[in-house]
C-alpha cells in the first residue's frame, strides 16, 4: 500500500520524519542498508525525485551515509542516533505543549497530571 501523507507539510519532509521514526523505533538498525531510491519510491508511492531528495537530505543530516556503488546505510554513529531521539523528544513535547496551551491548560497542570497518571509501560 502507498503511504498516506498529511496535507500541510511537504511530502519529502514527511518521508524524512518517517525514516527517522523507523531508526528511533529500531525498525531500521544502525548500519542497516536502506532500499534503493527507486524501490523505496515504488513501495510508498512517491516520485523518484522526491525520494532522491529524501536520501540526499538524510545524508546531509548525517543520519545515513552513501557508500559508492553499494547504496545508502543508516549511520553507525550511535551518538547521532541518540541525538535524533533527543530531537524527536523535544519536537513531541513542543507540539504537546502547543496543543495543551491552545486548550487553556497550563504546562504545570499537565506535568502534575502526567506524573500522577503514570505511563502505559509501568
Amino acid at each position: 500500500m502507498s503511504m498516506k501523507f498529511l496535507p500541510d507539510k511537504p511530502i519529502y519532509q514527511q518521508l524524512i520524519d518517517h525514516i527517522i521514526g523507523d531508526i528511533i523505533r529500531g525498525a531500521l538498525a544502525a548500519g542497516e542498508k536502506l532500499p534503493s531510491v527507486r524501490e523505496y519510491a515504488v513501495a510508498v508511492g512517491v516520485n523518484a525525485n522526491t525520494m532522491q531528495r529524501v536520501y540526499k537530505e538524510l545524508e546531509q543530516m548525517e543520519i545515513t551515509e552513501t557508500r559508492r556503488g553499494q547504496g545508502s546505510f543508516v549511520t553507525e554513529n550511535k551518538e547521532r542516533i541518540e541525538e535524533l531521539r533527543e530531537e524527536m523528544k523535544e519536537q513531541l513535547v513542543q507540539s504537546f505543549i502547543q496543543n495543551v496551551e491552545a486548550l487553556g491548560f497550563t504546562t504545570n497542570e499537565m506535568v502534575n497530571y502526567l506524573s500522577k497518571r503514570g505511563g502505559n509501560d509501568d
Binding site: S2, M3, F5, P10, I11, Y12, V42, V44, N47, A48
Partner: protein, 230 residues
C-alpha cells in the same frame, strides 16, 4: 524541453487555448489539471504533434513540433485501445514493429509487474486490465517524454495504485519527463513534482508541489479549490 509560446488553438469558432506559454522542464513528473473543456487534451495533442496551433509555437528542444519530431514523445490517449482481436503479446509485437524505440522486453516486464497475462485477447480484458495494458505499451517505448491523457480515469483504486507504481518503477526521472492530465489530484499528488492548472484555455498557475505545501501550508487539492474560488 517542450515549450509552448503564446499558443492559441481554435476548433471552428470555439477557442480551446488562448495564448498559452509553458515550458516542461526535463526529468519531472507534472500534473495537468483543470475542469472539463479547459484545454488539457489540446495541450497534450499539440505537444504530441497530433494538432497544430492556430497561433504561436510548440517546440521540442527549440524545433517546431511536427509528427516527425514527436517521434521522441509517447502519447497515451484517453480512448480505449484499438485491436481488440490481438492478444496482449501480439499487441506488444505490433507496437514493436511500429515504433523503433519500443522495447519488447521492457513492455513484458511492465505487464508482469502489473500482473497482466500476455496470452489474453484484448477484447476479453476487464477495463482495469485494458488500462494496465495501455500504460505498458506506452511506457514500453523508451522516449524522453510521456504524455498521458487521464491515465487513471474510470479505473478502480487498485488499478490506479498499480498504474502509479508502474509509472514510478518504469520511468527514469533522470532523463524522462511525464506530463499527465488528471482529475484525481488527491491520489496523484505524491507522484508529482509540479502542477499546471488550466482554466478556460489559459494557464492559471504552474507550481511545484513542495512549494504549494511549504508556502501555502496545504495540499494541492485544497490549494486548487482556493485558487478557483479566488
Amino acid at each position: 524541453m517542450i515549450e509552448l509560446q503564446t499558443v492559441s488553438k481554435r476548433y471552428g469558432f470555439k477557442h480551446a487555448l488562448n495564448g498559452v506559454t509553458l515550458a516542461l522542464p526535463k526529468g519531472k513528473i507534472i500534473g495537468l489539471v483543470g475542469e472539463n473543456g479547459s484545454g488539457k487534451t489540446t495541450v497534450l495533442k499539440l505537444m504530441a504533434g497530433l494538432l497544430s496551433p492556430n497561433a504561436g509555437v510548440v517546440a521540442l528542444d527549440g524545433k517546431t513540433i511536427t509528427r516527425r519530431v514527436a517521434a521522441k514523445i509517447a502519447y497515451m490517449p484517453d480512448t480505449d485501445l484499438f485491436y481488440p482481436y490481438f492478444t496482449v503479446g501480439q499487441l506488444f509485437e505490433f507496437y514493436d514493429s511500429q515504433f523503433e524505440d519500443f522495447q519488447l522486453k521492457k513492455a513484458k516486464e511492465i505487464a508482469d509487474f502489473l500482473k497482466v497475462s500476455l496470452d489474453v485477447k484484448i477484447s476479453t480484458l476487464s477495463k482495469g486490465n485494458r488500462g494496465r495494458v495501455k500504460i505498458a505499451v506506452t511506457l514500453g517505448r523508451e522516449v524522453d517524454y510521456y504524455l498521458l491523457d487521464e491515465p487513471f480515469s474510470g479505473l478502480d483504486p487498485m488499478v490506479r495504485e498499480d498504474i502509479s507504481k508502474g509509472l514510478i518503477r518504469f520511468t527514469d526521472t533522470e532523463r524522462q519527463t511525464v506530463l499527465m492530465s488528471t482529475h484525481e489530484i488527491k491520489e496523484v499528488e505524491p507522484l508529482l513534482d509540479e502542477l499546471i492548472v488550466l482554466k478556460e484555455g489559459r494557464i492559471l498557475a504552474h507550481k511545484e508541489i513542495d512549494e504549494i505545501r511549504d508556502v501555502y501550508g496545504m495540499d494541492a487539492t485544497s490549494w486548487l479549490v482556493s485558487l478557483f474560488r479566488a
